[in-house]
């Protein structure tokens, strides 16, 4: 097992986050999500899907998504592809994407 990928931990953290999530404000950003958001669902399923190694992020707590993206971007948390992708986004863009996914149906 390549433990750097932390898929189990990632899913567990995000699930824990969602259980204690406060009411999120409705999405108020641009149609279809802020820049970059719509690409994510190519891998992170927008609908519930069986048998996927890749966790869903819709409805997860925004601050958890932000934490993952920042840790992947800095390399503090190893990843396969997410570190390479996170490096394309600044803090503000990550915050907007995280807020948008947090407001989507889980």
């Amino acid at each position: 097992m390549y433990r750097g990928l932390l898929p189990g931990l990632a899913a567990a953290l995000l699930l824990a986050g969602s259980a204690t999530r406060a009411a999120e404000p409705p999405p108020n950003g641009p149609l279809g999500g802020p820049p970059g958001a719509s690409s994510c669902t190519g891998c992170h399923a927008s609908q519930k899907i069986a048998n996927s190694e890749i966790p869903r992020i819709a409805g997860r707590k925004a601050e958890d998504i932000v934490t993952f993206m920042r840790q992947y971007r800095s390399g503090a948390w190893p990843s396969s592809v997410m570190g390479r992708i996170a490096k394309g986004f600044d803090d503000q863009q990550i915050d907007a994407i995280a807020a948008w996914f947090a407001a989507q149906p889980e």
Binding site: Y2, T41, A86
Partner: protein, 420 residues
């Protein structure tokens, strides 16, 4: 209404000008989408999801789409072709009208398309996602008839099945010869994944056989990762011949399964010729393809720079740094759909960011990836510096196995989003 009409007539330049107030708000409109692959089907159902009042018609002659990603696994007997097939019921349930026919002509001035049955469809915005066609005059001897002897298998379906049958019927010790085209072409890592998975299959079933890969270029996507994998898993089985080593195929003889290069000729037991490509033929007819055969677009809504009101997506389009991949086509289509809804409402679409991620299999349980992040820059869709890149050359632990699992998960997810 007059405001909106006037606005739309101004075309691409005006459409991207600062926001124009519209009394209509998010008005309804008619969008026609040509082509039901990853780009077209995504665009059609995203348009409907974002603006249910739109009338969206997807024109696609085939009742079933056969997906190219993972079709190399079909060649290696790791999957069946039926696992590549997707119908349009999900697209229809999303509220899209699916017209099972083809577009024979596009009238960009009159904003209508002519269908094979002679009927016309008017549109406010047209999305063209025609995929690729082959340049049948590029390699002397390689025409549509030759492809029955030397399959391209670069549009998944009957060609994939034919190439698999030829491989299975080959005598152990027979030489498999592939040829890969110069850039640009559909799925840049695809020929090398194919060589990998054929070698994987040969190693088990035809252990005396080798594969010769003749290439019209000197470098290719994920090259070091592929070559390291070949050395590790298939030593001596794959020989890659670069352009400067004489890899460019100058003609073929389908009768003798011979591929000719400037440096010599190679007789194959099984030949797979991946010919040079261009945008699907309807793109040229519509006037959205340039002299390269591909379609230039602006980088915000992917509207043609040659024909305002027509958006071009996926493999057919010139997308700057973005490769011709299913992931990219899906990402572009979602951005384009949102932009079209904004344009129809008289608003300026936001500057997008797009991601591409492409997995390739070097073996059934050995995956590698390349990713990129893109944004509009100086009129082109450009790589965001510092982002993207390939899997590390040194894999820690089970990274290759994990990426193979991610590849399979990606395919399940994207096909569910597009066709589910």
């Amino acid at each position: 209404m007059s405001t909106r009409r006037h606005f739309m007539k101004l075309g691409a330049a005006a459409a991207l000008a600062p926001a124009v107030a519209s009394a209509q708000g998010a008005g309804a409109g008619r969008v026609v989408v040509v082509g039901g692959g990853f780009a077209g089907a995504t665009a059609a159902r995203t348009l409907k999801a974002l603006e249910p009042r739109l009338t969206v018609t997807l024109v696609e002659p085939n009742p079933v789409y056969t997906a190219c990603p993972f079709s190399n696994s079909v060649l290696a007997n790791l999957r069946e072709i039926d696992q590549q097939r997707f119908g349009y019921d999900g697209v229809k349930r999303a509220g899209v009208t699916v017209a099972e026919t083809s577009v024979t002509a596009v009238d960009a001035e009159g904003k209508s398309v002519t269908l094979a049955d002679g009927n016309k469809l008017s549109y406010d915005r047209l999305v063209m996602a025609p995929g690729i066609d082959f340049n049948w005059t590029a390699i002397p001897g390689y025409d549509e008839a030759a492809a029955q002897k030397m399959p391209h298998a670069w549009k998944a379906g009957a060609q994939t099945v034919l190439l698999r049958q030829q491989l299975q019927a080959m005598e152990d010790g027979g030489l498999v010869v592939m040829s890969a085209p110069a850039n640009p072409f559909r799925c840049p890592p695809g020929p090398y994944e194919r060589a990998s998975l054929i070698a994987y299959w040969l190693k088990i079933w035809k252990p005396k056989s080798k594969l010769l890969l003749l290439d019209a270029k000197d470098a290719f996507s994920k090259q070091r990762l592929f070559q390291n994998g070949w050395a590790e898993l298939y030593p001596g089985r794959i020989e890659w011949v670069s352009l400067s080593q004489g890899g460019k195929v100058t003609s073929v003889d389908p009768a003798t399964l011979t591929l000719v290069t400037e440096f010599g000729s190679h007789k194959a037991a099984v030949a797979n010729v991946i010919p040079p490509q261009r945008a699907g033929a309807i793109a040229a007819q519509a006037g959205v393809a340039d002299r390269t055969g591909w379609c230039p677009v602006e980088p915000v809504a992917f509207e043609s720079t040659l024909r305002p009101g027509i958006h071009v997506l996926g493999d057919a389009a010139i997308m700057g740094g973005m490769p011709k991949s299913a992931f990219a086509a899906n990402a572009q289509a979602k951005v384009c759909a949102a932009a079209i809804v904004e344009l129809l409402a008289g608003r300026r679409p936001q500057d997008p960011i797009l991601i591409n991620t492409c997995y390739s299999l070097v073996a059934a349980d050995y995956g590698i990836s390349i990713a990129g992040v893109y944004h509009p820059d100086k009129g082109l869709l450009a790589d965001i510096p510092g982002a993207g890149g390939t899997s590390p050359l040194e894999a820690v632990g089970g990274l290759r196995g994990q990426e193979a699992l991610y590849a399979a998960s990606w395919f399940r997810t994207i096909t569910a989003e597009v066709y589910g």
